[in-house]
Symmetry: C2
Subunit: 341 residues, 2 copies
Amino acid sequence: MSTLDEFALIRLLTEGKQSPAFERTHGISTGIGDDAAVANVTAGYQLVMTCDTMAETVHFKNITMRSSDIGYKAMAAAVSDIAAMGARPRYALVALSFPAGTPAERLAQIYEGLYECAHKYDVVVAGGDTTASASGITITVAVIGEVEAGKALLRSTAGPGDVLVATGWLGCSAAGLDYLLSRAEAAESWPQQWHAYESLVRAHCRPEPQVEAGLLLQQSGACTALNDVSDGLASEAWEIAEASGVGIDLIEERIPVAHELLTYAQKADKSPLDYILFGGEDYQLVGTMRAEHAIAMQMKFKEAGLRLYIIGYVHEQAQGVRLVQIDGNVVPIEKKGYHHF
Amino acid sequence: MSTLDEFALIRLLTEGKQSPAFERTHGISTGIGDDAAVANVTAGYQLVMTCDTMAETVHFKNITMRSSDIGYKAMAAAVSDIAAMGARPRYALVALSFPAGTPAERLAQIYEGLYECAHKYDVVVAGGDTTASASGITITVAVIGEVEAGKALLRSTAGPGDVLVATGWLGCSAAGLDYLLSRAEAAESWPQQWHAYESLVRAHCRPEPQVEAGLLLQQSGACTALNDVSDGLASEAWEIAEASGVGIDLIEERIPVAHELLTYAQKADKSPLDYILFGGEDYQLVGTMRAEHAIAMQMKFKEAGLRLYIIGYVHEQAQGVRLVQIDGNVVPIEKKGYHHF
C-alpha cells in the first residue's frame, strides 16, 4: 500500500456502507473512526462472543472463491457461531491483512461481500484493523451478539431420550468445493449463473448461517443442546456427545440429501454420506431436544419458512456416535472432521 | 500441524491458564470450548470493542521479539484501544494463524505472553480461533470492554482552551525497535537482562497500556478527548485536531524525554524528537482537558502512582498541529505517523 494510507483505505472500504441512522438504531454510539467502538447491550441480556479466521490458500484460493465471497463467508462463519448459541448477532470487528501490492479493488470487493452478509443478518460492522502481511490475505471476523441472560444453548446439555435435529442439507459445501477444485477455473472467469451445481457452489461460497432457526430453538425452550456444522456432521455430533456425556445414533434414512449433492456425488464417484459426515462449512445447526417437543417444533419451523429434520437419537450409554444404516446395521462413526490442518 | 488436532492444540495453549473460579468471578458463563463465549455486562454500561492484528515480518521478526512478546504485545495493543476510550477491558478473543510445521512450543510461548498480559489487565481470554496459514504467523486480538453509559472518551471532543496531556514517555518503543534491528540478534540468543537500553527494548516488546490512567481520566469528568499513541505523537495529535476541528500546539520543552532515549538517540545520531513525534507503538495516552483541571489531575495521578505531563495547548484556529520549539520558533508538524504500509 504505497499510494493509499491506512485512513484512506478504511474510508474506501467502509464509507457509505452503513448510514449513521442505521448505526444509531442498531445500538452504536461510536462506530468506525475512534480507538474503539461503543455500543449498547439490551438490559437483561448477556454477551455472546466469537471470532473466525480465513487464510488464503488454506481456506480459499482464486479457483474456489471470488473476492466478495471471501468477505461474505468470513462474516457468515462468525455469525453462525452466534446462531449456534441461540443468540442474536449484533456487532462485528474485522481484521484484514494483505500483502503489499494487493489491488485496492480486491480489498473493496472483500468488504462488499462482508457488508452484504452483515446487512442480511442485521449486524453492524463496528470496527476493525487493516494491516500489511508478508504474503496472503488473512481475514478475522469477531462477532458480538446477545442472548437473554441464562438462555444460551450450549453443547454440553443434551440428554438421553432427546432426538437429534438439523436445520437443513449437509455436505453441500464440501461437494461444492470439490466441484470448484475439479474445474480449477479462476473466480474472475466464473459464469454469472452456474449451469450445474449452482446450489453446491453457493453452499460453499455464500453459506447461510441459521440465525432465525437458532433463535426459534432458543426461544422455544425445547432445545437442549446446539452446534453449528463447521466441520461435518460426524465431528459436530461427537462434540455434543462428548460434551454432554451421551451417545448419539444417526439414522441414515432420516438424513436429508440434497438433489444436487446426490447428482454430483454419483458423477464424481463419491459417497454423499461422506460429504455429509466429514465435509465441512455447511453452517447449518445440529441440536438436540426432548422427543416430545420435536413434532411441534417442526410445525413451528414450517410456519416460519424454515426446515427441521429429525436425524438421530440420543442414548444414555456413552457409545460415541454411530450410524444406523438403511439396512439396519449399526456402525461406529469416526471422530474425524474437516480440520484445516 | 500433522500431529496435533485443533482441539488438542487449543488445550495445549489454554488449559490451566485461567481457573473456572477466575472466569466465574470475571463474568464468564461459558468460556473456551463451545461455539461462542457467554459473558455478563455490568448493568448501565456500554460495550467498548476493538481488534488489533500483528503479522510476522511486518510487525515482528525473530530479531525484534521473542515468541512470548508477540502474544504479550498483541494483547497489549488491543487493551490500549480500550484504555483510550476511558473504558475497562474485560474479555478477549484471540485468532492465531501459523504455517504448518510451526513448533507447538513457539505457539505455547505466544499464548504464555498473551495470558501474562491478560492477567495483568484483568482480562479473560474467552475464545478464539486457531488456523493454518500459508506463511507467517498472524495474530488478531479482539478486546471487549465496558464503560458507564455515555462516558466513553472520544477523540472528537477537544475544545479551544484545553491543554494536551500525556501519560508517559514517548518514542521509546521506536528507539527500542531501531536498537534491536541494529543488533540483529535472534531473540532466542537475547540476554536475560539488557545491559543497555533495557527500557527501550521493554517499551517495544512489552508495552504497558494505560488502563488505570484512562479510567482515572474518564471518571474525573475533566478529560475532553483521548487517544492512545500507536502511531506517534504527531499522528495522534493530528487525529484529535482533525476530529475535533481544533489546532494543537506541542510545546517542545514540556515533552518529557526518557534518559535512555536521549542516550540512544545521541549514540545513533538521531533526534529523540523524531522518535517521539513519528515513532509508534508507545501505547501511552494523549488527551485533552480544560486547563483549570490540569494541576488537580496531575496531583490525582501522582497519588495513584501515575504520571501526567502537560505537553501542549489546544487552539480555536484550525492550524493543524504545530511544534513550539525551545527557541520559540513555531513550526508545522507533518501529519505522518508510523504506519505499517
